[in-house]
Subunit: 189 residues, 3 copies
C-alpha cells in the first residue's frame, strides 16, 4: 500500500534537513518516496497552463485562479504511483493572518494518509532563524511563533477530520536531529 | 476586490469598540464596509419569513428552522456588493457547551476572505465584564475564559480549512485600544 | 426531541465510570439513553457483513473497508429512535499519530447534537493508569498526555464546525466523581 504523506513545519524548524535525512535512511532500507514541494509543483502547473511566466507572478493570481491551480496540482499529485511526500505548510503567516496550506479542496484531491508536524521549542527556532543569513526570514517573537505552531496543530486536527489521516508530531530538537530523522523514517517505513 | 470579513471575540473583549474605531478610520481613508451583526440579520430574516414575532421567539425555533434560517441569512449577506464585516461569535458559550457560530452550512454560503479573532488577556476581559453593569454578562473564571478563547482559536482553524480564509488575531489590550484599531484597520484596508 | 451525544475521553480518564453514573442518575429521573460503544458496534456490523470472524481481524481490514464499515455503523446508529450516547474517542493515539475517531463521513451520518470531552489533569490520568493493572495501557509521559488532550479539543472544534453540535467539557477530577456525573447528567437531561 502506497503512503501519501504531508510534511509541514514553520520556517526555521529544519523541515528540509529532517526530510532529507529520513529519505536517505529509507532508501537504504529499500523504501522509496517521491518528494514533492507543493509550492514548486503548483508553479510548474501554472507554467504549463501558461497562467504565469515566472514565480513572482504567482502572487498576482486571482483568488479563483489560485484555487483552481491548487486543485489541479493536488489532483496531479494524487495520481502519482507509489509513496509520496508533499512538503508544504500547515499554514503560512501572511500580513492578513494565517493562510491555510491545505484548504478543503486541496485535501479532497489529495486525501493523505499521514500528516506530519515537525516542531520544536520556539527558542530553538528563533536561534536557527538568526543563524541562517542565506534566507530572509520573518523575525517573529517567541509568542508569535508559539501562536503559529499552536495554530498549525489546530488546523492539522481539522485536516484529520476532513480526510481521516493520522497526525504525527516529530520534534526536531537542538542536538537531536538523528532522533527526528529516525522518528520521521519510522512513520514513513 | 471586495472583502468579506468575519469578526469575532468573546463578550467583554471590546469587539464593538474596536470595529467602530476601525470603521471610522477606514471611512477617513475612503474605504467603506457594510457592518452586519449576524444575530440581528438572522432575526430580521426570521421576521420577514414570519417565523417569529419578536427576538425572544428566536430561541424557541426548532433545530431545522434555525439551520435553514442561518443558511438564508448567510446567503443574503453573500450577495451584498462591496466590503462586508460580519460581526458574530466564533463560538457561543451555552449550558450545553460551546456552540459553533459558523457551522459548515453558514461558511459554505458566506465563504469569507478573512476571519478575525479579537482577543486579550483573560484578566483584562474579567475586569471589563465587572465594569460593565449595563449588560448582564456571564462571570466566567479565568480558566473558563482561557478555555473559551482557546476553543475559538481551534474552531477558527477549522473555519480556515473549510473556506481557505486567513485567520488574524487582533489583541485589544488595556490602554492600547488605538493599536487594536490600527491593526484591524490594517487588515481591512 | 431525542438527543444524539458523543462522549469521549483519553484512556484512564474514567469515561466509563462517569457515563455509568450519569445514566443511573438519568434513569432515576425517567430519562433513558441507549449507550453504544462505537468500536463494538462497528465490530458487530463487520461480523454481520462477514467481513471479519473475530475482533483481531478488525485491524487487518483495508482502508476502504474500514471507511465503509464506519459509515454503515454510523448510519445504523443514526436510525435509532430516542436518546443515544455514542461512546468513542475524539482521537486514538497510534504508532502513526493521532487517528481521528470521527472523520467527516462518520459525522455526516451521525450528525450529533452534543459532543462531550471528559478530561482531567494529566497527572491524575497517569496515576489512574498506574493503578489499573487489569488493562494494558500506554504509559504516556505528562507532556504526551497533555498534547493528546489538547489535540482532542482541537479536533472537537472541527467536529463542531462540521455538524453544528455543541462541545462540552466535563472534568472528572480526583475525589470529585460525583460532580463529573452531575455535570454529564445535566448535559444529557
Amino acid at each position: 500500500m502506497a503512503t501519501k504523506c504531508i510534511i509541514t513545519g514553520v520556517p526555521g524548524v529544519g523541515k528540509t534537513t529532517v526530510i532529507t535525512g529520513a529519505l536517505t535512511k529509507l532508501e537504504e532500507m529499500g523504501v522509496h518516496y517521491a518528494n514533492i514541494s507543493f509550492g514548486s509543483f503548483m508553479f510548474e502547473t501554472a507554467l504549463a497552463e501558461e497562467l504565469v511566466r515566472n514565480r513572482d507572478e504567482m502572487r498576482l493570481l486571482g483568488k479563483d485562479d489560485q484555487k483552481s491551480l491548487q486543485r489541479k496540482a493536488a489532483s496531479a499529485i494524487a495520481t502519482i504511483d507509489g509513496n509520496v511526500i508533499v512538503d508544504t505548510h500547515a499554514s503560512v503567516k501572511t500580513p492578513k493572518g494565517y493562510l491555510p496550506g491545505l484548504p478543503e479542496w486541496v485535501l479532497e484531491a489529495l486525501m493523505p494518509d499521514l500528516f506530519v508536524l515537525i516542531e520544536t521549542d520556539e527558542d530553538q527556532i528563533l536561534g536557527r532563524r538568526l543563524g541562517d543569513p542565506s534566507r530572509v526570514r520573518d523575525m517573529d517573537s517567541y509568542r508569535a511563533l508559539a501562536s503559529h505552531q499552536s495554530f498549525n496543530r489546530a488546523i492539522a486536527a481539522a485536516y484529520a477530520m476532513k480526510t481521516g489521516c493520522t497526525v504525527a508530531i516529530v520534534t526536531n530538537a537542538d542536538l537531536l536531529l538523528d532522533r527526528a530523522i529516525d522518528d520521521l523514517a519510522g512513520l514513513l517505513e
